[in-house]
C-alpha cells in the first residue's frame, strides 16, 4: 500500500465571518500533480496557503509523510514547522517579486535557498546556481545581474529555479503563469511541465485556467464557495464533469 505524501482532513479557515475554505479533505501521492480550480474567491489561495504553512487554519488535520517520517503539520512547534517548510516544501508565488529578493543577484537568490539549508561552500553554491539558471533557460551570463533587469517570464523562471534547487518534496504553485503576458505564459508552462516530468515532482498547482490544469495535473479538485464540489482524475473531470458548476466551467473554456 502506498502511503499518501500529504493527507488533509476537514480543513477549514475563515476570515472573521467570511469563509475562506471549508471542510476540505484530500490526499496526494508521491509524483502526483494536483490541480485546484475554481472561480475567483472560491478559496484556492486560502487552501494552498494553509497547506504550505503560510496561513494557520482554524480546524482540520494536515499530515505529511515524507521518507517514512510522519509530520503532523499543525501540531509541531513553530521552529520545527519553519524548518520543515524550508527543507521539504517550496512555494512559487503568482508574482515572482513576492518570492525573490530584488536587491540580490539572480545567483544570490537561488543560492540563498541552499544557504538556508546549510550549504557553506561558495564554489558548490555557485556551480549549483549556475546549473539551475541554465535549467530554467536563463543565460548563465546573467547570474550576477539583479532581478530588476529581468523580464516577467525570466523572473518567474528564476523563482522556479530558486524553489526547486533544494529538491523539495512538495511544490506549491499559486497561479504561476497568472501574472504573465499571454505571449510568455506558454514558455513558462512548458518549462514547468518538463521539470515535473524530468524530476518526477509532487506538485499542488492553483489555477483558474483549465488549460493549465489539463496540461499539468494528474488529479484535480474543483472549488466553489470554499468547498470542494468535485474531484477526480483530471482527464475524467474535464471529459465528463458531474457537477453543473464544473460543466459550466468546462464548457466556457471550450467555447473560447
Amino acid at each position: 500500500m502506498i502511503i499518501p505524501l500529504l493527507k488533509v482532513t476537514n480543513l477549514s479557515k475563515s476570515y472573521d465571518n467570511i469563509v475562506g475554505c471549508k471542510n476540505i479533505s484530500m490526499s496526494l501521492y508521491p509524483g502526483e500533480v494536483l490541480g485546484i480550480v475554481g472561480e475567483s474567491g472560491s478559496g484556492k489561495t486560502t487552501l494552498i496557503n494553509c497547506l504550505s504553512g503560510n496561513l494557520e487554519p482554524d480546524r482540520g488535520k494536515i499530515i505529511f509523510n515524507i521518507n517514512n517520517k510522519k509530520t503532523d503539520f499543525l501540531n509541531i512547534s513553530e521552529s520545527e514547522k519553519r524548518k520543515f517548510i524550508r527543507t521539504d516544501l517550496a512555494f512559487v508565488h503568482q508574482n515572482p517579486r513576492d518570492g525573490l529578493r530584488l536587491n540580490v543577484s539572480a545567483g544570490g537568490n537561488i543560492g540563498e535557498k541552499l544557504m538556508s539549508v546549510g550549504y557553506r561552500h561558495y564554489g558548490n553554491i555557485r556551480s549549483l546556481a549556475t546549473k539551475w539558471i541554465n535549467k530554467v533557460e536563463i543565460d548563465k551570463s546573467r547570474i550576477d545581474d539583479l532581478p530588476i533587469t529581468f523580464s516577467g517570464g525570466m523572473l518567474q523562471r528564476l523563482q522556479i529555479a530558486k524553489n526547486l534547487i533544494t529538491s523539495p518534496n512538495v511544490i506549491f504553485m499559486d497561479e504561476p503563469t497568472g501574472g504573465l503576458d499571454v505571449s510568455v505564459q506558454a514558455r513558462v508552462l512548458d518549462l514547468i511541465r518538463s521539470l515535473v516530468n524530468e524530476l518526477n515532482l509532487t506538485v499542488i498547482i492553483v489555477s483558474h485556467d483549465l488549460a493549465v490544469i489539463r496540461l499539468l495535473a494528474d488529479k484535480m479538485i474543483v472549488m466553489k464557495n470554499g468547498t470542494v464540489i468535485e474531484s477526480g482524475l483530471s482527464d475524467q473531470v474535464l471529459e465528463d464533469p458531474q457537477q453543473e458548476y464544473t460543466q459550466l466551467l468546462v464548457s466556457s473554456v471550450l467555447h473560447v
Binding site: 513553530e78 521552529s79 519553519r82 524548518k83 524550508r86 529578493r101 540580490v104 543577484s105 545567483g107 544570490g108 543560492g111 540563498e112 544557504m115 538556508s116 539549508v117 546549510g118 557553506r120 561552500h121 561558495y122 564554489g123 553554491i125 555557485r126 547570474i143 550576477d144
Partner: protein, 296 residues
Amino acid sequence: MRKTNNVIKIKDFKVDKGLPFDQEYNFAYLDENTKKMIRRAIIKALCIPGYQVPFASREMPMPYGWGTGGVQVTASCLTKRDTLKIIDQGADDTTNAVSIRNFFKKTSNIKTTEITEKATLIQTRHRIPETPLKKKQIFVYQVPIPEPLAFLEPKVSETIKMHSLSEYGAMHVKLYEDISKNGHIETAYAYPVKTNDRYIMDPSPIPKFDNPKMNNSPAIQLFGAGREQRIYAIPPYTKVKSLDFEDYPFDPFKAEHACDICGSKNTYLDEIIVDDAGNKSFICSDTDFCNKRKNK
C-alpha cells in the same frame, strides 16, 4: 594631518576643557532610575551573548549618530572610581572623542586617560585598541545599526523570529554577493559575527581587522544603539566567530605597510595624503599605541 572625514563638528554641545565639575547634574548625567533600567538591560544582554535587548533610550544632550547609545551605557556603568578613555576611530583627540570625554568630566568628575591599560572603562567608535583589553575592563561600542539582518529583512517582527529560530542562512547571501562581485569578501566594516555559537551580531562599524580581538576577550564588551534602542553584549571569554565560507575563510586583512611614525607592522593603519602631489603616509589609527611605541 590626522584623517578627519568622519569627524563631525558640533557647536551647541561643547564643554570647555577647563570647566569644573557641574554639581547640577546627577552623577554621569542620567538619573538613577534610568541607569537602573539600562543596567538591567545590560545584565540581560550579558546573560544572552549577542542578543539585542530593547531599552528605553533617553534623550541625550547630543544628536543621534553621536554615540547616544554608547554614552547611556557608559553613564550607567560609570562609578566614581573609574578611569575613562574615549576614542573615535582609534584617536583620543578627535572632536567626537573630546566632546564625550568632556561631557563625562563635567557630569561625573571622574578621571580620564588616553592610556588603554590605565582605563577601567573605554567607550569607542569604530575601533578596538591595539593594546589587548584585559580583565575588569568594560569596553563600550557606539552602534548605529544593531540589526545585522536589516539589509535583508526590513520587518523587525521577522528579524526577531529569524534570530529566535537561528534562521541565519540568508546572512551568507551578503558574503555570496561580495565574492560574486569582487572575487573576495569585500565587507570591510561591520563584518557580521556569530557570538557564543548562537546569535549573529553586528560588531558596529569597526574594521574587520579588529574582529578577532572580540573573540575570547577578558574584557566585558557592551554595545549601545541609541536611536534603535538596543543593547547587546559579549561577556568575557566568549567565542566570537566572523562569518565566512569554507572555501573563502575569514581574512582580517591588513595593508602591506608599516606605520610611518612608530614602525609597527601589525596594527590597523590610516592612509593619509600628506601633500598636494598625492603622496601617502600610513600611520596607526590607535594614537595611544602609536605614541607609546614611538617613545620606547
